[in-house]
């Protein structure tokens, strides 16, 4: 059961909308994608964001063919960096039912309009990089290309909202999308914290600072790392200490009445002393042991998994997250994330391949609208 069968999406992909098109394809839409921009991208990015789409060669785009595709599309995802070199605005005007999502790095008419941007520079201005990393080293981005991913999700959201409005009004519309805003929206803490407290957040490494003290978030264990923090959740704290007590490893933690403690208000030296007891306990146990206790007792502790462990996760396998994808460019098969979520009776799988680009003259929708 696909959710969007027959939905026709034309995508001009330059990074900002690519994941949005991928989401719509995963939901069953028929997505034709033209890579724009001319900058060489790593193959892994092409594979990750464009499998399941029909790829169209960027060279030799014929105006008549482009006009036909825009005229037949329900949705146009338009990554627009500078100007409108393909004349898409005029083509879109001839399709009154078209939902035209125009994604730019910044707003179309603001002071940053027309500025060049990449994933890294968008992360910088979002306020996220300033809090990622260690206090004694430069700011860091998040792994992957999160500004592009966030903008892509918003592009899919905009398209689907436009679709719903079209059902009511019978008309398409233009939707301008800012990557700067999309990325900044993910930064839900820093601006509001400044507005209300005047405090400016900085990098704190793996320490989570709340109130006058900070607590550790990442802990070495016998065979890797886990994440867990002392938080103001008395039942959770008691649950961890109970298991530690069974091993005689709880020490002074046994006598603490967690209901009467507000971690954020405790003295840092006291926090460190308590954390040393937790740390010694974690260090003696494996990820599997700690993960199993967390699942059974509701500790909120998570095993920190590397990419291979995520690929091999029994849980994610049971939910069918990873799927086999044919990489026609590289001539191999690879396991990649497939379904976006679980729903209904499951989804008819969209085409699970990264196809070779075809000339635009050969591009056609795979199903009637």
């Amino acid at each position: 059961m696909n959710m969007l069968p027959g939905l026709r999406v034309l995508e001009l992909a330059g990074g900002l909308v690519d994941f949005g098109g991928r989401m719509l394809a995963e939901l069953g839409a028929d997505v034709l994608s033209i890579a724009i921009g001319g900058t060489k991208r790593p193959h892994a990015e092409t594979l990750a964001w464009h499998h399941g789409k029909t790829r169209i060669a960027a060279d030799g785009i014929r105006p008549a063919a482009l006009k036909r595709l825009v005229g037949e599309a329900d949705v146009l995802l338009d990554d627009r960096r500078v100007g409108d070199p393909l004349g898409l605005d005029a083509l879109a005007a001839d399709n009154p039912g078209l939902i035209h999502v125009v994604a730019r790095p910044f707003s179309p008419d603001g002071p940053y309009s027309g500025r060049p941007a990449t994933d890294l520079t968008l992360m910088a201005v979002s306020g996220l990089m300033t809090i990622v990393g260690d206090p004694d080293r430069p700011p860091l981005r998040l792994p992957g290309e999160q500004a592009y991913a966030l903008t892509g999700i918003q592009a899919a959201t905009a398209a689907l909202m436009g679709l719903r409005a079209r059902r009511r009004t019978g008309r398409g519309q233009r939707i301008d999308l800012s990557a700067f805003q999309s990325t900044t929206l993910a930064n839900y803490r820093e601006a509001i914290m400044y507005e209300w407290t005047g405090r400016i957040g900085t990098r704190t490494g793996n320490k989570l600072v709340r109130g006058k003290s900070g607590v550790r978030q990442v802990w070495p264990c016998a065979d890797g790392f886990v994440t867990w923090s002392m938080i103001d959740n008395p039942s959770m704290m008691r649950s961890v200490v109970r298991v530690m007590s069974d091993e005689g490893a709880a020490g002074e933690l046994t006598g603490i009445e967690w209901e009467n403690i507000l971690v954020a208000d405790e003295d840092q030296a006291m926090i460190e002393r308590w954390q040393s007891v937790f740390g010694a306990f974690f260090a003696r146990h494996t990820k599997a042991e700690l993960g199993a206790w967390s699942l059974e007792h509701g500790w909120g502790l998570s095993v920190i998994s590397d990419l291979d462990a995520v690929r091999e996760s029994e849980h994610l396998a049971a939910r069918g997250l990873f799927v086999e994808v044919d990489d026609e460019d590289a001539g191999r098969r690879i396991r990649l994330p497939g379904p976006l979520f679980r729903h209904g009776d499951g989804s008819d799988a969209p085409q699970r391949r990264l196809s070779h680009p075809i000339p635009i003259s050969e591009a056609a929708w795979s199903a009637p609208s």
Partner: protein
């Protein structure tokens, strides 16, 4: 007229992962009724920062306010069977039910999908949880950073020579609700086509895996990339004048490199043909990035970024919370909307990042706790105002 003007949502979600999705819907015109309880306050209402009224006032949290704009709030005691019946009347009215409670809670109180489908057969029931509602870890209790740990994000975050890194914000609480919004909208489209509702089950882990799919697509990837890019250099963050001032520069073409060198008045050796190609620059990344750092060190980050932008070089100052809040581009784009709130006073609330030409959204202030209880139930249970008042007096609607 918003894009979702005719959409009705019964929102049982709380804290971050659910409310951020229903904010997306509400800001674009959906009628979102947030079901809350005075006995079991939304933890978001107890989360800082607070207005001067303080943390004991359930309406003083700016954290809550920014995640719950444009919604209505009703209070129901869901531990009372009469409260559950009132909740069911909302379900009968709604197109969509959203929940992010702990595993099994909605089933235990009689508000699971199967029960609600019996009331409203084409209901769209949207769940978001750390590990999803099926699979061996379906019972896992955690929080946003659990998803970072279990998706590969924490392992791939931080400097290449460092232990896994957990930034001080829950990215899983950002990405998962965005997927939830997409799931709800796609399910609505499906229902419009088929007449069928369904249960959409969003895990926080899976969206976090999806947004680093490019890392999973690279079997040769070894270690954490930090700020580097496999094909481009310089690609990183460089010091600027003053304390904790940095600029990000990402050179993707040889022409941008030439322009960067000219703009920084780079020394001759850096401009030489030895570094004219991307592959040569990547091979000598450390050397050229150290040289760039020396050239930016005494320059103002904002002025330099503007100069680079004018020359066509992708660059951006690393902004902090204050600079984001005061940023001229965000202000001009309407990213923060000033809302008058009875407890917070005038406060800036984040708006959606998109502008609809025909169906613009509108951001309104977050509701006070239970502000719309009487209004909503008086309308829903037309002609039974005495019963509604009685339930309120008996703290069923509380």
């Amino acid at each position: 007229m918003g894009a979702l003007d005719d959409l009705k949502v019964a929102d049982f979600s709380w804290v971050g992962a659910g409310p951020r999705a229903t904010k997306d819907l509400a800001d674009n015109g959906a009628m979102v009724i947030k079901i809350e309880s005075r006995k079991r306050l939304d933890l978001g209402r107890m989360s800082p920062p607070f207005a001067p009224a303080g943390r004991k006032n359930p309406d003083a949290s700016a954290f809550f306010a920014q995640s719950n704009t444009s919604k209505k709030s009703v209070t129901i005691d869901l531990t009372d069977p009469r409260g559950v019946e009132m909740a069911k009347s909302l379900v009968a009215w709604a197109d969509v039910v959203v929940e992010n409670f702990g595993p099994g809670f909605m089933d235990r109180i009689g508000l699971g999908y199967e029960a609600l489908k019996a009331i409203n057969p084409d209901i769209i029931y949207a769940s978001v949880s750390v590990a999803g509602r099926s699979g061996p870890m379906a019972g896992f209790r955690g929080y946003g950073n659990s998803a970072a740990a279990q998706s590969g994000h924490a392992a791939m975050s931080g400097w290449p020579d460092s232990e896994p890194h957990m930034p001080p914000f829950a990215y899983g609480d950002v990405v998962a609700p965005m997927f939830l919004t997409v799931a709800i909208l796609a399910a609505l489209e499906h229902r419009d086509r088929t007449g069928q509702g369904q249960h959409v089950d969003v895990s926080q882990i899976e969206p976090m895996v999806h947004v680093i799919a490019d890392l999973f697509a690279d079997p040769a990837l070894s270690g954490k990339p930090g700020n580097t890019h496999p094909l481009f250099a310089p690609h990183g963050v460089f010091p600027c004048r003053g304390e904790e001032n940095w600029i990000a520069i990402a050179i993707e073409t040889d022409a941008q490199w030439t322009t960067l060198c000219a703009a920084l008045e780079a020394p001759e050796w850096l401009r030489s043909s030895d570094y004219a190609t991307a592959s040569a620059r990547v091979a000598n990344r450390e050397r050229i990035e150290a040289a760039i750092a020396e050239l930016t060190r005494d320059l103002d980050k904002v002025g330099l970024a503007a100069r680079f932008a004018a020359a066509g070089v992708p660059a951006g100052p690393v902004l902090n919370g204050k600079e984001v809040f005061e940023n001229e581009e965000l202000r001009a784009a309407g990213h923060f909307v000033k809302c008058e709130h009875p407890v917070l006073g005038p406060s800036m609330m984040p708006a959606p990042p998109m502008r609809f030409s025909d169906t613009p959204g509108a951001v309104r202030r977050a509701p006070l706790l239970g502000e719309h209880t009487l209004e909503v139930f008086a309308e829903m249970l037309d002609g039974q105002s005495e019963r509604v008042e009685q339930l309120r007096r008996e703290e069923v609607l509380a």
